[in-house]
């Protein structure tokens, strides 16, 4: 089984548009949207949900005020300032550590598991897809990302497919780590800006830290060819294989508005560049 995760460090470089195109080009694959707190892939793939389940995340303390003696033990021990002076737990601040629950002398604190979101198995015109929706202001996005990836793997095995394509989140923190650990390779979609380069350096460092083979492509490379070259140099020095440069074209936005991937929408220069990148990725994943 080969699993390719697409990440970017910086947000808004075009990860999801690239993934949607790969979805149209790849055969025998399962798609997974691991950007669980701002998922967008479904806007292009229009999934028909076949299976839906609650995502059970962490726990939250809730003080039963009738049983509470207001001794203040919980207030004193909470490291997250999540309990108000009148003994109400702030759901957003509560880390779910259970320290207050353990130390309450009158057992007045409940500690129920939360429904933190939902996850889905769907069919799309471009193949099966596993995706999720983290509840607003919920925690445990890393856990949900791991769940989505595991379900994608089970689904691929069921169908006898050999490839999983994962649309990852931006950044380098918890959900990104959860979306790349153990992947066959990561593709970083970057852009020719100082921010894009800076963020590629950090996310490339993260992939190296976890010893995951890393490839990169420059989206909208012609917006600044000088920085595109700097990115190419950075990649060459850091064992990152640059698999392509995608030109800027407003057709990408028109495709998005039409609910299509760019390779389905037009046969222009962007589609050509992405097809070439996918061709190289297929070879890379085979080896």
């Amino acid at each position: 089984m080969k699993e390719l995760t697409i990440i970017s460090g910086k947000g808004g470089t075009g990860k999801t548009s690239v993934v949607a195109s790969f979805a149209a080009l790849a055969k025998n694959k399962v798609l997974a949207d691991a950007d669980v707190d701002a998922a967008d892939l479904h806007l292009i793939l229009a999934p028909e949900i076949r299976h839906e389940e609650d995502f059970m995340g962490g726990r939250t303390a809730r003080i039963n005020l009738e049983a509470c003696t207001e001794c203040g033990e919980c207030l004193e021990r909470c490291q997250f300032d999540a309990i108000s002076p009148d003994f109400v737990v702030n759901r957003i601040d509560c880390e779910g550590c259970g320290v207050c629950v353990h130390f309450c002398p009158v057992e007045a604190i409940d500690f129920a598991q939360n429904i933190c979101g939902k996850w889905y198995i769907s069919e799309t015109r471009l193949g099966p897809m596993v995706h999720a929706k983290l509840g607003i202001a919920e925690e445990n996005s890393g856990l949900l990302v791991s769940l989505v990836r595991n379900q994608a793997r089970v689904l691929a095995e069921d169908r006898g497919f050999d490839t999983i394509i994962v649309d990852g989140p931006p950044g380098i923190g918890c959900p990104v780590i959860a979306s790349i650990t153990g992947a066959s390779a990561v593709l970083v979609v970057t852009e020719p800006t100082l921010s894009g380069l800076h963020d590629l350096e950090r996310v490339g460092g993260l992939a190296a830290h976890f010893k995951i083979p890393t490839l990169a492509c420059v989206n909208k490379f012609d917006l600044n060819e000088e920085i595109s070259d700097q990115i190419a140099n950075f990649c060459a020095r850091n064992h990152i294989e640059l698999v392509g440069r995608i030109p800027y074209d407003t057709a990408v936005t028109y495709a998005m508005v039409a609910g299509k991937s760019i390779v389905e929408f037009s046969d222009g220069k962007v589609s050509g560049a992405i097809k070439e990148i996918w061709h190289r990725l297929e070879h890379f994943l085979k080896d």
Binding site: A38, F80, G173, N224
Partner: protein, 278 residues
């Protein structure tokens, strides 16, 4: 006043708005880059850093001489960061949330604190703007505690502008918390609209007043504007797609330096927010 610039979707122009707003106001401003996973504001502000510190979070260190392997630490830990197996105590500091439960519950006081590095915090100035940012250590999963540390530098006597991370989960919530106003920067595309709705949900959960800036307002469709009207959310500013701005951005140059007339628009934006906050 604390103004937090957030977005849901990444790459819509949060940092552009945050940095240009900061330099357009006449002093008494601080900019806090809370996108600690991928901080970029410094590329534009080019601050002189005069203070750097490593930020740590407490994790357990077990004194095996005192430990009697009772296992209470492993029972209280919700994050599988400490566990006792036979006469061994395994700790996984990267999973620890620093609740100190293990230290509190240990009957033999065998567990003490050591620090796990979350990243660095840097402070300095850029012109008349005070600049603070955090940089998450590569490989570190938890950004919220570092964001909290950056926000400890908020000076209530100043206008504080926070550049938030993308998304709608915990790091964004931590960046938003305590703000007096939130600007959500979006673009008029299906992805922009979808993520804007999620971000509006997050900001409303925190009961923070908000407004929208539509960046590259002429590239997509009018669904963002229609949504804002339906929801009664003010559109504070619309910035057309402009090659000159994109080009400047790519080189780390501020919008107000290539389009000085934008300074007035950013000042008007601040005035508008002041009115909305009341």
């Amino acid at each position: 006043m604390i103004i937090c610039i957030a977005s849901g979707k990444g790459g819509t122009g949060k940092t552009t708005i945050a940095t240009n707003l900061a330099v357009s106001l006449n002093g008494n401003v601080q900019l806090l880059d809370c996108d600690v996973e991928e901080p970029n504001a410094h590329l534009f502000m080019k601050p002189e850093i005069d203070h750097t510190e490593t930020v740590t979070t407490p994790v357990p260190e077990v004194d095996l001489g005192k430990c009697d392997f009772c296992g209470k630490c492993g029972e209280i830990c919700q994050f599988s960061a400490i566990t006792v197996i036979g006469e061994k105590v395994l700790t996984f500091p990267e999973l620890c949330h620093s609740c100190k439960g293990c230290m509190m519950v240990c009957p033999r006081e065998a567990i003490s604190e050591k620090g796990r590095a979350l990243g660095v915090l840097e402070r300095g100035t850029s012109g008349s703007v005070e600049f603070i940012h955090g940089r998450l250590r590569i490989g570190e999963a938890m950004s919220p505690p570092l964001i909290t540390r950056v926000k400890e530098h908020i000076d209530p006597k100043k206008t504080s502008i926070i550049d938030a991370p993308p998304g709608t989960s915990c790091p964004v919530i931590v960046a938003l918390k305590g703000s007096h106003f939130s600007i959500l920067v979006t673009e008029p595309t299906p992805f922009g609209l979808n993520d804007l709705k999620l971000a509006v949900g997050a900001v409303r959960t925190l009961e923070i007043p908000l407004g929208i800036i539509i960046n590259r307002c002429d590239v997509g469709d009018d669904r963002v504007a229609r949504y804002a009207e339906q929801e009664g959310i003010p559109i504070l500013m619309e910035i057309p797609d402009d090659r000159k701005i994109a080009e400047a951005y790519s080189r780390g140059i501020m919008v107000v330096d290539v389009k000085p007339e934008m300074r007035g628009r950013f000042r008007a934006l601040y005035e508008r927010i002041t009115e909305l906050v009341g």
